[in-house]
Amino acid sequence: MSNSPAPNKQWKISRIELETWLDEIAVARTLIAPRLVSGIFLYRHVTNSSEIAWSEEKSESPHTSRPILSSKEVFFPPTERLFTIQKSGQEIHLEENYPNWETVVFGVRPCDARGVKLLDAVFMDTIPVDSCFARRRGNTTLIGMACKELNSNCFCTSVGGAPDDAHDMDIMLYEADGEYLVEAVTEKGRFLIPGGEWKETSETPPKSTSNGQFPIPQKGKWLEHFNDDYWIKISERCLSCRACAYVCPTCRCFMVRDEMIQPGEFERIRCWDSCGGENYRRVAGGHKPRAEKGERLRNRFYCKFYYYPEQYGLNAESACTGCGRCIEVCPAGVDITEVLLDLEKSV
């Protein structure tokens, strides 16, 4: 199904219609949505709409809760099997295991959809195409939900996003007074809309409140301040726990290794990793670049705002989506917005 834009079409549906639709989707495909799992919200498989974590249970303006991990994990799981290895004597047999099921992710926030788009730049738009990511991406439809306003740690509007930005979705939902305006953004999204049953509308989607914008330092600033002591100071309290990288919608560093399934059978897996780790770059012979915590934390910020856009030719200014998860999760109070403001102010 193509990602090309759909002819602009909109529908207005009730909460009941929304739930019925999601229930139907859940029968034919894998439906992934925010779900409460042992006390935390995660994007997880749901078998019907009642398992979805609506932020205000059955209230008049239901919205989905925001998961702790971004929707990155749907396309780029924390641990993923690349292929299996069968070994018997001198014989080796390899088999790739592609995910080939149709998936729908519901309740995606604009910042998360943007994160997925930024991952496309690495895994799909830069040759060679990463087949595991591409397969998952091709099989998946994103149904977004516009946020009404920015939450306390959000800053999407400062990095080019918006709480009601439908760009990176396949379908976008806007909630107003307990009803939902449904917009088909791509052809792929249009394909999921039930024909004829829904009431078409020409209403314009409601605007969200987009406040709190601040300027992001431009390339020159980053170049100028690379060697500042600031990076050492700011990292003093960092624990190198790497939680910030795991919750980030665009951190995509991974490591690859083999694991034994049973004697004679192995799998090559890749799993999330982070430039914050002390041994992350250690090479043969013991040479250990970026040994200092400050150098590693600096790399994280530079990657988001300078390296990643340069490496993957983004026409975006940054690979940060402004979701604010890293601020929420950091046990040491490292705040990316504080870093951006400090850098912007510095001379």
Binding site: K87, Q90, L94, M255, D258, R268, R270, H287, P289
Partner: protein
Amino acid sequence: MLPTLGKLVKVRDLADEIKLLRVELLDGRSEAFKTCQPGQFAFVSAFGLGEAPFGIANAAERGPEVDFAVARLGTVTTGLHELGEGDIVGVRGPLGNWFPMKKFQGKDLVILGGGIGGAPLRPVIQHVLEHRSNYGNLSILWAARRPDLLVFSDEYDEWRTAPNTTLFLTVDSPDEGWNHNVGLITQLLEKVSPSMENAITITCGPPIMIHFVTKMLQEKMGVPPKDNYVTLEARMHCGMGKCGRCNLGEKLVCVDGPVFNMEEVGKLLETFL
């Protein structure tokens, strides 16, 4: 990230804890390496343990088998050392950029290899020997900590006897039979002092060696940074610009390198040291 299967057709000791693995690619996949250029690398799998990157150690002209010189340092390299002829490995490549050998034609070449760093330089030497008249003088400065760590010693005669080719050896700690230079490669370089008038220099070895050698070439011998080539090593897990591990500032060693000239290195935001 699926590797091609390859059969080990030759395994031999190159130096202490360093083995040469010669791989014949199976399933008609040797085509991919026919156009392989000196300086490129590939990931080699020891199935069940993992894969690691290694410089391709022979020139395409010396194919179709592909050579790797593997120093035993950890999990994968130990796994590879335990394999023997007839065993199957995985090969993913060729990856990365290469030395612009065409651009070097008509120039003198000074090649400086330290330890296992000699591996990715062997295809350069072989390429020059295969097309000898296209290049000027070839000076090879080859170093190791000890004589038993010098790689490709059984090929030195071939190198020495080639036209306009000179080989200089040095070790930090000599043994009894040693009758070549003793000392660091920088000392050897100063002593030999090859003409840099019309020369390209190519260095590979531990980061600290690259640092001091390239510095001496530039500051004492007047080699312009753009003619001062190195091949850098960084930890990497995919070799395709995805896994993010090998960045030096905004450059990725796996796809923008591993070959750089010092003009490019000078522009990097981060040092390779």
